[in-house]
Amino acid sequence: MSVDYDVIVIGAGNAGLSAAATLQRGGKRTLLVERHNVPGGAATSFVRGRFEFEVSLHQLGGMGGPGPLREILDEMDVTRRLRLIQDDELYRTVVPGVLDVTLPADWQGAVDVLDSHYPGNRAALTRFLEIVRDVGLWQLTARANLHRLKEQVEWLSGLSDVRRYGLRTYREVLDEFFTDERLKFVLSSYWSYNGQLPSRMSFMDMARLLALFIETKPYQIVGGSQALSSAMLESFLEAGGEVRFNTSVEKIVTRGGRAVGVRVDGGETVSCRLVVSNAPSSTTYTRLLDPADVPSGVLRDLGSRRMGPSATALYLGLDAPAAELGFATATNFLTTDLDERTVARGMRSLEPAPFLLASCYDVRPTGFAPPGASQVNLVTIQYADPWEAVPVRDYQQAKSAYAASLLDLLKAIAPGVRDVIEEAEIATPLTFKRYLSQPGGAIYGFDQDAMDSWLFHEDDLKPNVPGLVLVSNWVTAGGYNSTIVTAARLCRRLLAVL
């Protein structure tokens, strides 16, 4: 039976691009279909006036040393197309009037800094970060080697810390080692990179994030995430791949329960041997497919999962140099108080923002702001529901009010920002819904608590409907490293059987 393509990839986000490039470079004739006129999904940028704005990338993990992302991008012939800048620091964490700590991207350095701020914790810190490192590196390694199960079981059997702490909440483990709430708070800063607060996030996931960024160092990309997604597209095209932009997949076509192609807007049907969907799981299984073609176990599993958070972002073009404004660190976490419940409330309401991540792209300039100016993103984690509840007519006003509260909070580290704003753009969960076609505007897929762990969802990466696999942050952890690496590895294995 002749088919139009070996593979059709639906969606050119990080995961879709990674899958398409891997399959095409592996010799499969691949068509990539994207709704927008540009590759990247969340990995993109936009221009206002003299400024370019990074949409989603705060720190790129996995690129330093033999990092997992580095290995994949080398293999994909993408690294040489990029210019990377290493961040000097891991992050700065501030609670006005309570704490202000900057951590280096280095295990020992982190112990030293934290012990100098909170003396008497050196032994506990050393032991705690050792476990973080072990658990984090175990997870990064185990995911790459799942096909060698026997070996993995043996290895894990000997890792008693990993087994003991892995599934507990991050908060529980912090409480076991420390009493100083400020110290625990600083160590929890990366919660927003996963979207779950420390009392809901598993220790394993926070350990993975910390180990990723400390072991492989945080990076910025000159030209931002769009340079990365365009580079993946270029590699795909150079290998002979075909892409259709401005094209939406309306249905996955099945025959006898097997995915055999897609129907695009306009009605055309294109056939293939394998469909790879970068669209969200729920969209893929319940909209693109007829649920009758989907095994009931998969639908039940979808029902057990919770919609993950989205974000509200204020993109700022500032007519002043970063240093003058008070930005010495690229990544800054700011919170009004130490109580996790304050932030939890903020995620579900439009009360003044209690938390933000301020990324400054001009501590070491990525080229997004003209000389003497700087580009800063303020992002907070929020679910879509409080925004959905705002009547359409009041939406603009709600946006402005919320953005103003972000600026108020920012004053603690950069008091002069409001006076030098040249461009400002606000994105809410509704904006992310619009541009990413993600239900709930989710930026990391499902709620990533322990129940969402890959350990309990092997099927996520399996062809539950014959002829179809999914790649996206709905079937693996959110974030650049995870989505790109998981998609590439899955597709490498598929090359062997296709």
Binding site: S45, A142, D301, A384, L407, M451, S453, L455
Partner: protein
Amino acid sequence: MSTSTNPLAHLFEGADDVVAEIERRGAAGADHPADAREEITPYHPKVLDLTVAEVVEETVTTKTFRVRRTDGRPLPPFLAGQYISLHVRVGDVLTSRAFSISSSPAALDHYDLTVRRLRGGRVSNHLIDTVKPGDRLTSGGPIGTFYHDPLFHGDDVVFLAGGSGVAPAMSMIRDIVDHGLSRRMTLLYGSRRADDIIFHDELDAVAREHRDITVHHVISDPGPDWTGEVGPLDAALISRLAGPLAGRMTYLCGPPGKYAYLVRQLESLGHPRRRIRLEANSVALPPPADPRWPAELDPEEQVTVTVRGRGSLRVPRGRPLLDALEDNGLRPEASCRSGECALCRVRVCSGEVFHAEEARLRASDRQFGFAHCCVAYPLTDLEIDF
């Protein structure tokens, strides 16, 4: 444990609790939201189906078209200063043009589009000469970044308008009046002759009745009866009419050729560039007027543009790609047609394009070959894809 659990999971303390919780959640069964696209439509409809309700002759050269949604539903909300892209068929060619909404954002039963004849302009003349009440039109949803942002624009603003550039200013003034906003606005409005002034009576009436609204008409070609201000609108006149500019956001909307001059005038008064905002409503310097245009390349000469999967066309170098494509029945998406919105982005697979100054490209676009075809001109034979 469920079949989807990896055997490694068993080795973890607490794995049974996790599985039990997953099962509990599965039994409760969460419903996931509908398609993100459908949910977003009320905010950002892709296409509006419009009917012309009324045509008002504003001046000899200008008409206002009042359009309503054909199905009678309210139009989507917009911000004073935003525009819609109107889809129009002129002869055989389907094209589009951006028009600022001049009506008040307080009334969503209609949008007013105020159109002035442009000498030689295809679409403005077509609209003014042929469109009448009852006619059907389509457009995109409201879009654009030229509006008052309360976050940093302040509540004392200045607007320099020329010709039909008064349309967004009118909408902003109506917004202030209808919503009772505490915002002062000073409009310096340049027209050629007194009878060219659009919204003359309404502007003067609003200015009389509202302390916060000030309007100055500036005429460049005054007749004997004109007693008001006379252009050019230079630094001295701006300063005299508007007063000190410090801290006041200043909006510019008018003929594209005027922007560079006006920005210089404002800057000479010590006004920082960040407090000046322009509506980019067309290209100021089409080639070959642009000094960056390669002198050896004749803009009249034709090159071949190949569109992946859709054939080839012969196009003079000096014609914007978007227009050339539309001439040939191809319609990439487009909205602003002035380089800003990126909706007309195409991928240049081979060959070289020249971008007008106004093109708001991203750093990576040049490296990876993306173009805004509304302000891109084919320098060589091209292959493009969209």
